[in-house]
């Protein structure tokens, strides 16, 4: 296992491995997502309280799950980089930040749209929504720091440090937001407790979550591949790749 991880560590071999993995991840993501959406939209029963707005859950819940786990994955890549100095971990971190931020944004907006029909207000200071908002700020911090530092190498170290600091603080923030919510929100309505879902609704949700994970990995891999090429552009294997790709493309004019 150890040398496999080491092989994955070197950008060139990662590029080769991801060449084979990417189509698999892509098709699996497409498959899960399409089945999940069709099932959730068409066949799942409307919720007895919320009626059809419950269908928003099939997007909002996976998005907020992904938001948190993408931060976890990004921060663990940061830890790997700070401890073992594997260059690929730093590239992975910098590529995960924008995806994570976009998913957190998606979770935020879908959460507020879900709130509109149910409570009539666009924004509700619910514990989970607020901690997703804070997570969004954390992502923004990472992206702001990455773009502020021109020199790529030290930007990697700085962003990994910030990600790790954020990771250490995340549980504290989560606790304090939840605790703060119970203080001010006397009424018990909130998105936190998932209503006991019948199996017909729970299963499409599971498909959607798995689909989102596959989607996240495939998009993440795509970004890492581009970043690896940019970083290794002086290496011969990149030169050959670019030239061969160009010849192929000239031949059949397809991207």
């Amino acid at each position: 296992m150890w040398n496999w991880l080491h092989k994955l560590g070197s950008p060139k071999s990662f590029f080769a491995i991801s060449e084979r993995l990417l189509p698999w991840f892509g098709t699996l993501a497409l498959l899960f997502l399409s089945v999940g959406i069709v099932w959730g939209l068409l066949f799942a029963p409307p919720d007895y309280q919320q009626g059809d707005t419950a269908r928003i859950m099939f997007v909002h819940v996976p998005a907020s799950i992904l938001a948190q786990s993408s931060y976890m994955m990004m921060a663990s890549a940061g830890v790997v980089f700070l401890v073992w100095r594997i260059k690929l971990a730093e590239i992975a971190l910098q590529c995960a930040a924008p995806i994570g931020a976009s998913l957190t944004f998606l979770a935020l907006v879908t959460g507020s749209i879900w709130g509109k029909p149910m409570w009539g207000t666009w924004w509700v200071w619910d514990a989970r929504l607020t901690s997703t908002l804070v997570l969004f700020f954390l992502f923004m911090g990472i992206i702001a720091l990455r773009s502020a530092m021109e020199n790529r190498a030290s930007a990697g170290r700085a962003t990994s440090l910030l990600a790790v600091v954020g990771l250490v603080n995340l549980p504290i923030i989560k606790f304090s937001v939840d605790w703060w919510n119970t203080l001010h929100q006397s009424s018990s309505f909130s998105l936190t407790q998932k209503p006991a879902m019948p199996i017909e609704m729970w299963f499409p949700l599971l498909l959607m979550v798995i689909g989102f994970y596959f989607f996240f990995f495939s998009v993440w891999m795509m970004r890492i591949r581009t970043e690896v090429l940019i970083r290794e552009r002086r290496a011969d294997w990149v030169k050959r790749l670019v030239l061969t790709m160009k010849n192929k493309r000239d031949m059949k004019h397809a991207v």
């Binding site: 068409l42 009626g51 909002h60 879908t110 749209i113 989607f215 795509m222 591949r225 552009r233």
Partner: protein, 72 residues
């Protein structure tokens, strides 16, 4: 099938607007995430191709035979 007609499916008895807004937004975000790396990759190939051909022209023929064996 929960809905008997297409129009009912779109309305979703009044909540349709929100549900569709969410799904289109989700589609948008997902597509954006997919297209962004593809575009960056394409831009990288274009720029690098020009850079390499320029460099190849300068340090001539070192690359030409190199690219041959990669296809094996």
């Amino acid at each position: 099938m929960q809905f008997d007609s297409l129009s009912d499916f779109i309305q979703m008895n009044g909540h349709g607007v929100y549900v569709w807004a969410v799904y289109f937004l989700a589609l948008g975000v997902l597509l954006l995430n997919v297209l962004r790396p593809k575009m960056m990759m394409k831009r990288f190939y274009k720029e690098q191709y020009i850079a390499y051909t320029l460099q190849a022209a300068v340090s001539n023929e070192k690359l030409k035979d190199g690219s041959g064996d990669y296809l094996k």
